[in-house]
């Protein structure tokens, strides 16, 4: 299977601290993969490299055949790399629908002039955008909240809204940063199905950072494990579960049988 996103030999140094050390990683096309590791392993830093927020000290990132390492975040987003945030970062003072429509900015064509004059092409485009936004809200299951301010939505709905917004970028890759934080097992299970639906119905490749092992095991086709900035294991859920280095990274040395 070819990969849609390919990070090669990424190293990230902040001053003297090496946050990510020579990590290579790819997301297979239409695949669902996870990135796990104890806190401080460098997962979010790595995420930020993929989306262009940080530039790596060395290494490069290829997306859909083109090099995106040096691009600014909004260009990477516009090219089709979408993400959600660990701490929800919605535009609280805008409605759910408007939040989704913000992410359509890069494919809408209206200019300052056509907007002010209200030309038919602009009006048509706006109508279509509204419809697409509503459709996405329906897809993630919060269609009824379209006109509500994002700030007023429940936590679960806000998480879904973040996904809807990310999907509005018409991405080929979706990066989810701890999407099940704060969810109970029931909700997480529903979420796993949801992830599959996104991949199956929209053909989008998905990368998750996750702490909830149940979710990780259920949803991932492949898991990569980072510890202290280095890749220490990669493989299927079964392989990772049994990998002693992974267990050690999470639980520490000598804990296996003791507790």
């Amino acid at each position: 299977m070819s990969s849609i996103l390919n990070a090669e030999n990424i190293t990230v140094e902040f001053g003297g601290l090496v946050a990510v050390n020579d990590v290579s990683f790819d997301i297979p096309e239409k695949g669902i993969v996870s990135l796990i590791g104890p806190n401080g392993a460098g997962k979010t830093t790595f995420f930020n490299i993929l989306t262009g927020l940080y530039k790596p000290t060395s290494g490069h990132v290829m997306y859909d055949g083109q090099e995106i390492t040096a691009l600014v975040p909004h260009k990477i987003a516009a090219a089709g790399v979408a993400r959600t945030f660990q701490n929800i970062r919605l535009f609280g003072s805008m409605t759910a629908e408007e939040n989704v429509m913000v992410a359509m900015h890069s494919h809408l064509k209206a200019s300052l002039a056509t907007t002010i004059l209200g030309l038919p092409s602009q009006r048509r485009e706006e109508r279509a955008a509204h419809e697409e936004a509503r459709a996405l809200l329906e897809f993630v299951g919060i269609g009824k909240t379209a006109g509500e301010f994002a700030r007023n939505l429940s936590y679960g709905d806000q998480r879904r809204l973040e996904v809807a917004r990310a999907l509005a970028l018409r991405p080929k890759v979706l990066l989810l940063d701890e999407p099940t934080a704060g969810m109970n097992p029931q909700e997480s299970s529903v979420f796993v199905d949801f992830v599959h639906r996104i991949r199956d119905e929209k053909g989008i490749s998905i990368l998750l950072i996750e702490h909830d092992m149940a979710v990780v095991m259920k949803v991932s086709e492949r898991i990569t494990v980072l510890d202290r900035g280095e890749k220490i294991a990669e493989g299927s859920p079964a392989e990772i579960k049994a990998n002693p280095r992974v267990i050690e990274a999470y639980l520490g040395k000598g804990v296996g049988a003791g507790h």
């Binding site: 902040f14 490069h60 995106i68 390492t69 040096a70």
Partner: protein
Amino acid sequence: MANKSYKARQVRRAIFERTFGIAILAMLSFWLIVNLIKAPSQFAEVTLIGLSNGVLYALIALGYTLVYGIIELINFAHGDLFMLGGLFSAHFIALWFHQTKSSPMGWLVFFLALISVMVFCAGVNVFIERFAYRRLRRAPKLAPLITAVGVSFMIQFVGLRWNGSGQKTWNSVLPHGSVMLGSVKLPYTTLISFAVTIPILIALTFIVTKTRQGKAMRATAQDQDASRLMGINVNGTIAFTFALGGALAGVAGLLFQQTRGLTSYNLGYQLGLIAFTSAVLGGIGNLQGAVLGAILIGLIQGLNDGLPIGLGQQWSQTVVFSILILLMVFKPAGLLGKQVTEKV
């Protein structure tokens, strides 16, 4: 590969900045040398004036940098506090204690004024923080900035009532006259400015680096929440910082009023921005930087205003603000500051 080109871009940018910086320094040096050759004693005198201004700016700049360091707020109203200090000193010395010339009593009152103005301005600053800024500590950035502008206007109003809409002149208790260094006049007032400021700066350094309060300040500046968790009284520490800044502004106000003999309601606005530029030049948040930046700005301004080949006083603001703008665009970290990136 693009990563190389990104690196290459960064290297090119660094080279460009370095060349630009060197070019500017070269031009400045050339300008200075020409003036020095043309009129050496004027050059020396103007330099002294610039230095004595710089020392005043340093006191005010420190207030800006202390507050910015701890709560990331540009306290717009800080310069006006300096103006208020000047007004207070003028009234204290000349009107309440009737001292209008140099004498032993004059010296005594001067020192009393020094202490009083520090207490007064510290108090005002703490009051402002408590009632205008504290509530807005976690509000979106625009809010405390706008509030600070509002407070600035309100303090200027006080200045208007107290001092009228024009300038007032006062007789000083500091000795007139000067010491001659060769053919250069070194006024006593300049010497006194240095004599007052330097110990205060030393005391400030001591407070910030060696005392518990100082440590609390530095911790809070780094991470408010963590400090709170460590048991540091964050509110009190911030109040203390404002008190320190206020006291410094008060001293500057006293010195200005006594060495220049003037008060005016809008002095704070003008000089405040110059002092802020100094703080940025030195690296906002950095105490030594504030002093360094202030001396440099004082020199540049003095040289621009007073040298035979210079733009002259009517372009003073433009020169200083252009420096501010260039700094912020090209080197916001200033001379001694550190670059900080936002963590997502």
